[in-house]
């Protein structure tokens, strides 16, 4: 992005003999492509619906980028979405314009130091920013109007006028010096424990089921934690065995797969919840079984051959925690996250520290 694309577009529109016609066409026909990435999209819907009706200015919300000339970036752009945004922008024929709405797009807003957020203005050139979380539909419409004026006059003008104050005085800091806000009082427990304990419940069928399971799995600790909820604690070498037995029992699908990070104890807890669609009395029952694996060598067999639907969840857990599920053929490809983000949900993942520098 070395060239100034925005200026180029405006230059194209205002050059030549028929410049007025070109400008007139582009001005009154700013069709926006639908690229709803987050909650600001609701405001976009508002702006084009009956209350505000941005179509009055000839702007039409359209489904694709090939036939439109305006991208409205709606708030948060994750690292993975950034690719899509860039592709959308590149597919769009010149001359094209971009409006960015929402605080998230400007400096990250709510998510400013999240592990997976980018700044859209680093990805594509933006014509107008609309701050706010979310900005009002009037804000978006005034950005469209401002863009129309920019196309007509060829120069970008801000629509907001700000009062000037001396920040250095206000904050009592020097220019160029980095300041950090006080640290929040973090309370770190020495050895966080997850207690899962048996509970006495009136559940006839459950008792029978637990007995049956106990007979099949003498190596595991099995108890009810609530009505319709059974918990199985076992060792990691029996992980597959438990899955196999549960599958033969009639538990035919996986509800969820979790990994719990316990850095103090140097281990991960892998927790898998299964239930049944096919056996009627098992339908309300959810059985959770958990094993512990060492944190420095997080490997565990995949359960994909018992429940194929576990594939996504295993890949998700691999993305977030770096647990390797042996035997899942798609393991290792980034599934949810952008390639450069590694294990963001581990407790020792370093986020960007809040700090500010006054600049002149």
């Amino acid at each position: 992005m070395k060239k100034d694309v925005n200026a180029e577009n405006i230059e194209f529109l205002s050059s030549g003999l028929i410049a007025p016609i070109k400008k007139w066409g582009a001005k009154w026909s700013l069709w926006a492509v639908h690229l709803v990435t987050s909650c600001c999209g609701v405001e976009l819907a508002h702006a084009y619906a009956s209350g505000y009706d941005a179509e009055r200015w000839g702007s039409l919300n359209f489904g694709m980028m090939r036939q439109t000339n305006l991208i409205i970036v709606e708030g948060t752009i994750t690292k993975k979405m950034a690719r899509a945004l860039r592709i959308t922008w590149e597919q769009m024929p010149d001359p094209k314009f971009v409006i960015l709405i929402g605080a998230c797009g400007i400096e990250g807003g709510l998510f400013w130091n999240s592990y997976h957020i980018t700044r859209p203005w680093k990805i594509i050139p933006i014509d107008y920013f609309v701050p706010g979380c979310p900005p009002t539909p009037e804000g978006l419409i005034s950005a469209i109007r401002a863009l129309q004026k920019k196309i007509e006059s060829g120069e970008a003008k801000t629509t907001a006028k700000f009062r000037e104050t001396d920040l250095a005085k206000l904050l009592g800091t020097e220019v160029g010096k980095e300041r950090k806000p006080p640290k929040p009082p973090l309370k770190i427990a020495e050895k966080p424990e997850i207690k899962i304990e048996p509970k006495e419940v009136e559940w006839e069928f459950g008792k029978k089921l637990i007995e049956e399971l106990k007979n099949k799995m003498p190596f595991a600790e099995i108890f009810a934690i609530d009505i319709n909820r059974i918990y199985i604690k076992t060792e990691s070498k029996f992980y597959e065995k438990v899955a196999e037995l549960l599958e033969s029992e009639g538990f035919d699908h996986v509800k969820s797969l979790n990994v719990i990070d316990l850095p103090h104890e140097n281990k991960f807890v892998v927790e898998c919840s299964v239930s049944s669609y096919s056996v009627e009395e098992l339908m309300p029952v959810i059985v959770t079984f958990s094993v512990e694996i060492p944190r420095d060598k997080p490997r565990i067999p995949s359960l994909i051959r018992f429940w194929p639907s576990i594939d996504y969840q295993e890949r998700e857990m691999h993305d977030f925690f770096g647990v390797w599920f042996e035997g899942n053929p798609w393991m290792g490809n980034k599934f949810l996250l952008a390639p450069e983000v590694e294990t963001p949900l581990r407790k020792d993942f370093k986020l960007e520290e809040p700090s500010y520098v006054l600049e002149r």
Partner: protein, 382 residues
Amino acid sequence: MLSYLLEMFRQNSVGIPLITRKVVLYHTANKIAYIPPLTSLFAKIPILNLIVALIFWKPFFAVLFAPGLVCILIAILFIIWFERKVTARVQWRYGPLEVSRNVGGIIQPMADGMRYFFQEVIVHREAHKPYFLQFPLITFLPVLLPILVIPAGTIYAINTPYSILVAIALISLIPMIIVAIGWASNSKYAYVGSLREAMMYFSYEIVLMIAAMSMVIIYGSANAIEIVKEQSTIPGILLNPFAALAFFVAIAMATSRFPFEIPEADQEVVFGPFIEYTGIIFGVVMTLAYEKLYLLCMLFSILFLGGWNGPFIPPLGDLSPALWLFLKTIGLMMIFVFFRTFYARYRLDQALKIGWSKLMALAMVALITGLGLGAVNVMGWL
């Protein structure tokens, strides 16, 4: 040679009193003041007179002005604006407005057209390049050729006893071109879209033809001029309402109007066959469905609504019937685009089912009615 051509053009030229005759301003006992006719301005100048004569030569006029290219253009510009406006009104919005406040933003499609005209044309790497650029232009062939055989009152290019048949045959070529466009685009959604187009083609085309044929049987002729003459007392829609209904639904399917906007469904296959087109070429292919709508609506008004029958407006001369036909066509198009505001979209299989069961049954009823009425007509009882 030239004078022979000139003579040929002049003998068969469109008579519009407003511009081919003198317009008398006032008339007293010894003085006549008049505006000279526009056409005679160039009558003496060698090449220009030939051009003017050519323009007013009926076949040329039919294809280029009414009911041809210019009328299509006006109809499309109006109908696109109308579609956006009426949708907006139904949704309690204003729709396009600010571009020209005092006329309700009616020049909005022109602004869009200008924008398309000056946008970059992208030819993606996977496209079959020559065809990708060629097909949008070829679409003008099946759009303009039917104009040759569809007359507008006294303005016609070819007067043949097969005009309705030829027109329908030529209009049926348009889906071929759409499928070809989808193939040339060589992309996933274009492929799905053209597949859908081909499927839809099978579901409506036969119904469309049967409905038209049942009317042709009633009138005992496939010549549009005679068909319209037959309808001077009773319009066809009263004679055979089944055929009218079947034809109507088939038009909605053929031109992918709602609720049959399946090949181009922009929420599902993002404009289907036309997804890869940008700039002015997209402008050309996007109007294709509207052009087809125009042609089929014209056929509908000829077959069922008495075509160009209507009070004669003397100053317009030959243009008067053409104007009536145009107005009826536009009215029908407005009905069709109005469907967008309140219909949902059928799935492809539902549309196919309707096409092959209910609609086909309706067409059969229409055909039987047509056969009955045709027999009555032959006996001379009608």
